[in-house]
Symmetry: C2
Subunit: 209 residues, 2 copies
């Protein structure tokens, strides 16, 4: 169990393991070997065993892994049992899709507030959460103490807002904006989502062929 800094490469594979095990569990599969997992995920069995063993290893020689146990262990490692209080800022196309589409609760978060600067959106409901004007952000945060903010804003707006949010106690960001938070706050937990980059990568892959 001694852990000396697990690499991002390993961590990034955990959600995929988790989702896959979720499916297996739902399908009623009870046990699975690293070899079978490897075939179904397109990885090597060796890598899978290495990955699990960074966290102690929860298999059994001669048997493999118990699906339900492995699923719950990985969930625990990811911290999905948490309910980090979360706000979303920017209720444009992207923000609305994120708010509507994501199941925050099963991934360790609870969305409690949605904000936008546009007056005309105020009061609109997204999944029973009313859109509030950003002018009420401070008050809301002082009252509800969100730990996480989802940023669906243009980069300049995000850059201006982040220091304020940190001041208000926000400790992590799910960042859909092009502002690179990590450059200014290197120690903060941040996940960037740049779907445009994925589209460019697809373009590369097509052109390459």
């Amino acid at each position: 169990m001694a852990k000396d800094a697990i690499s991002m490469a390993v961590i990034k594979r955990l959600p995929r393991y988790y989702r896959f095990l979720e499916d297996l569990k739902r399908a009623g599969v009870v046990r699975i070997s690293s070899r079978e997992l490897s075939a179904r995920l397109g990885l090597t069995a060796s890598q899978i065993r290495q990955d699990f063993n960074r966290y102690g290893g929860f298999g059994q020689q001669g048997y493999g892994y118990n699906v339900e146990q492995l699923h719950s262990e990985i969930g625990r490692i990811l911290g999905l049992h948490n309910r980090y209080t979360t706000i979303l800022i920017g209720a444009g196309n992207l923000g609305r899709a994120v708010a509507n589409h994501m199941v925050f609760e099963s991934r360790g978060f609870e969305l409690v507030g949605i904000f936008d600067k546009k007056e005309s959106l105020t009061g609109q409901l997204i999944r029973e959460i009313p859109i509030r004007n950003v002018s009420g952000l401070d008050e809301f945060c002082l009252e509800n103490r969100p730990k996480v903010a989802v940023l669906c804003l243009p980069p300049e707006a995000a850059r201006a807002l982040v220091p304020q949010l940190i001041e208000l106690g926000v400790q992590a960001f799910w960042n859909f904006s092009a502002y690179d938070i990590a450059l200014d706050y290197p120690d903060l937990p941040v996940e960037n989502v740049h779907i445009g980059d994925s589209l460019m990568t697809l373009c590369y892959k097509i052109s390459e062929k």
Copy 2:
């Protein structure tokens, strides 16, 4: 210029370089050194030079890189001058956000059709493109010959549709579904977007602290 398979690690950095150079260009910056780029992107200068040199290198000793030239070279490498004919399938929250939010044209694609199985959505306009019923997919494809499909569907629906789309001439997928296309079609250009995985990774990063 001899190219012996450029690694995915390099390719995945290109869109970020491209976006950053876009900003520099807009800001009127004419030249930049690898050292300055490295400071602003949080990479090493060495890595940046290595990356560019996989494609031939377009700098000048003692000077650095010309921003405009570098920007256009990377755009060319990514293939962004293309206009791959593209359809989007699944006009739910996610599909609508993608269709509304992405600037396909500046990334090498042209969105020409949107499809959903829900009758009630038929005829609705998204950016002047009418939502069509999936029943008309075959006819539309035979007429318009889309090369790329964006999948914003549940995994089972995606799995059922992909063979049909390939049959109809679709050659690449931007895949937002949980169905793993690459397992069945290993040679097809595919980019998967799993924003849920990113959220779980964020949860891990927070819990880890």
